[in-house]
Amino acid sequence: MTVQIRLFAMFRETAGADRLEAPADAADTVNELWAWLVARHPELDRHVPAAAVNAQWARMDARVADGDEVAFLPPVSGG
């Protein structure tokens, strides 16, 4: 009963991991999951992420369910 977290680029390097696992009861929403993550990696606190649930764009108040994969994305800079 877990939620998968994926991190990229600056977030990945800051947290020192590209994937993390949170217990399913850690958060009801994307926003709460970010707070759970920041509690463990306070260096992330100054950042404002975009989020995706199961590789679909999601608002920070979107609900998170058991088995979801939630990605937190820094501002993009491709091209």
Partner: protein, 146 residues
């Protein structure tokens, strides 16, 4: 299906161009984003690009689809590089063909502008004395232009 790729290998712009060539297309506009030797006054040694492939691919496919929907007769191909890139290498190549040139220029410009603001890809600059991830713009779903 449009040609859309993420690749760790050097991009051949002619392959991207060839993917959109058609007998009814009189114009092809190709954009190359190239790694520059400096940015904001600092000398750049090399770049590293990272993508979230499960989102970047559908996002680039969507850009190519919007080009075909929004500009009648237009077709787009998009290839973005990931991994380590040296100065002078192409990080992204976008080719757009269309019957006439105005649409090719306009759609190609929209495609690269949109890619830079909507596709989950990040670049890190590596200098002689340090490095930093470049913070661009908060990404989100692609909006179809008027």
């Amino acid at each position: 299906m449009p040609m859309v790729e993420l690749t760790e290998s050097p991009i051949d712009p002619r392959v991207v161009e060839a993917a959109v060539a058609r007998p009814e297309a009189g114009a092809i506009c190709t954009f190359l984003g190239v790694v520059r030797n400096s940015n904001l006054g600092r000398d750049v040694g090399h770049l590293e690009y990272e993508a979230f492939p499960e989102m970047a691919m559908p996002s680039m496919v969507r850009i190519a689809e919007v080009v075909a929907e929004r500009w009648p007769g237009a077709r787009a191909a998009i290839v973005h590089r990931t991994g380590r890139l040296e100065i002078g290498e192409a990080s992204v190549v976008i080719a757009v063909s269309s019957p006439h040139r105005a649409e090719a220029f306009e759609a190609c410009r929209w495609a690269i502008d949109t890619l830079k603001t909507a596709v989950p890809i990040w670049k890190k600059e590596i200098w002689a004395d340090g490095e930093a991830w470049i913070e661009g713009v908060p990404a989100g779903p692609i909006e179809v232009p008027d």
